[in-house]
Amino acid sequence: MDDETLDRLVAEAQRGNTAAFGRIFDEFAVPIHRFIASRVNRPSDAEDLTQLVFVKALEALPRYEARGIPFGGWLFRLARNAIIDQSRTRRDHLSLVTAVTRATEEAGPEAMATLRDDLDRVARALADLTDDQREVIELRFFAGLSVYEVAAAMGRQEGTVRGLQFRAIAALRRSLGIESVGSMPASAQPATVEVRA
């Protein structure tokens, strides 16, 4: 969805157009859910918080002004605050270690084992990042936000976000043993990740 369409939908939703808010939901629901699911323990918590974020967005929408902060950044800031609020009361947020044990049911037994192994390594590598680095990765890669939107969501400067992302990627590559491979396309890489000793 382009910025112009999004701005129009936001303006219509602010005037009480439910269908417009529905389209905004459709655009952001999956990224918001992915971001929240990466930071809470239980799938049911991710569902509850995703709903809460959109209800809060609905309540706060009349006060939203497009000037200065992109809508995606604003929405993810609500998500971020909802997660923080929940973690204060529940004291069990940040599930990356727990996520290691989550099942991956769709593949066959062998493929599933390999896939689960790869994904467990990714989860462990993410868990080793600093909180800020991990959040940047979650917002950039899992939620698909731009650096500008991530900066708005986190309340940081774009340069800071770029720096965090740079260091996070370097750390992930080290953890996962992903070396520079010249201009070799990704499709030509081995299927599984070799973890460096």
Partner: protein, 241 residues
């Protein structure tokens, strides 16, 4: 990621692939999660929108006091905010109400009230509400909540009546609703075998079965060749109309 040169591009692609795979496998919502959230959020949006239309009635100016704000704009804003908080707070309680709870009937009433006027959209809405009521009944039965089960089934029966009243005489719509009710009857029958002592299930099955019979009768009247649910197999021979 322009800070990286071409030599790193393959490695970055590989990392992105892994992160994508991780997100798809571990972080994506499963099953009907998103549609459930969507229905709840949009119902709340519709309620807030309806409340906003009625708000001038609610937003009467407060009596003057030493806390009174002098500017009329501020007074209106305060009243508006209070009414909005009240509305949103109440609506949150209503839309989170499970069957058997204080606000459940209000929630069911509002959901029915919010159905669109256009026939197909309205029937689709009825269909969604019927499915929700059955799911609530199953959930209540699963947790041994007899009052919740009875409330969900009472709401289901009311919804069956409303859907039957709204369906009209179009043969395709009649057949579609009939098919859905037949599925629900099967679910209810299974519930009845698991919880034989629950008379509310028997009543719901009875309502559903009567509605199916009514739909079949309507279908036959509207279109004499309408063949339904194994009945009327002998009808429709010979020249039509």
């Amino acid at each position: 990621m322009s800070a990286y040169d071409d030599n790193d591009r393959g490695a970055l692609d590989r990392l992105e692939d892994l992160l994508d795979a991780y997100a798809d496998a571990r972080l994506m919502p499963r099953g009907p999660v998103l549609s459930r959230i969507r229905a709840n959020v949009l119902a709340q949006a519709a309620l807030a929108s309806a409340a906003a239309i009625r708000r001038p009635v609610l937003a009467e100016p407060p009596p003057p006091s030493r806390w009174a704000v002098s500017s009329p704009f501020h007074r209106r804003a305060l009243a508006f905010g209070f009414a909005a908080m009240l509305t949103i707070g109440t609506s949150a309680a209503v839309f989170a109400a499970p069957p058997g709870s204080l606000f459940y009937n209000a929630r069911v009433y509002i959901e029915t009230l919010a159905l669109p006027a256009q026939v197909d959209a309205r029937l689709a809405g009825h269909e969604q509400l019927l499915t929700e009521r059955i799911a609530e009944a199953e959930a209540a039965a699963g947790r041994g909540d007899a009052p919740g089960l009875a409330a969900a089934l009472a709401a289901y029966q009311a919804e069956v009546d409303a859907a039957t009243a709204d369906v009209g005489n179009d043969v395709a719509r009649l057949a579609h609703l009939e098919e859905m009710l037949a599925k629900h009857t099967a679910v209810l029958t299974t519930l009845a075998t698991e919880l034989p002592e629950q008379s509310s299930i028997e009543h719901a099955i009875d309502t559903s079965s009567k509605a199916i019979a009514n739909l079949q009768a309507k279908g036959s009247r509207a279109h004499p060749t309408h063949v339904t649910g194994g009945q009327g197999q002998d009808q429709g021979h010979g020249p039509q109309h």
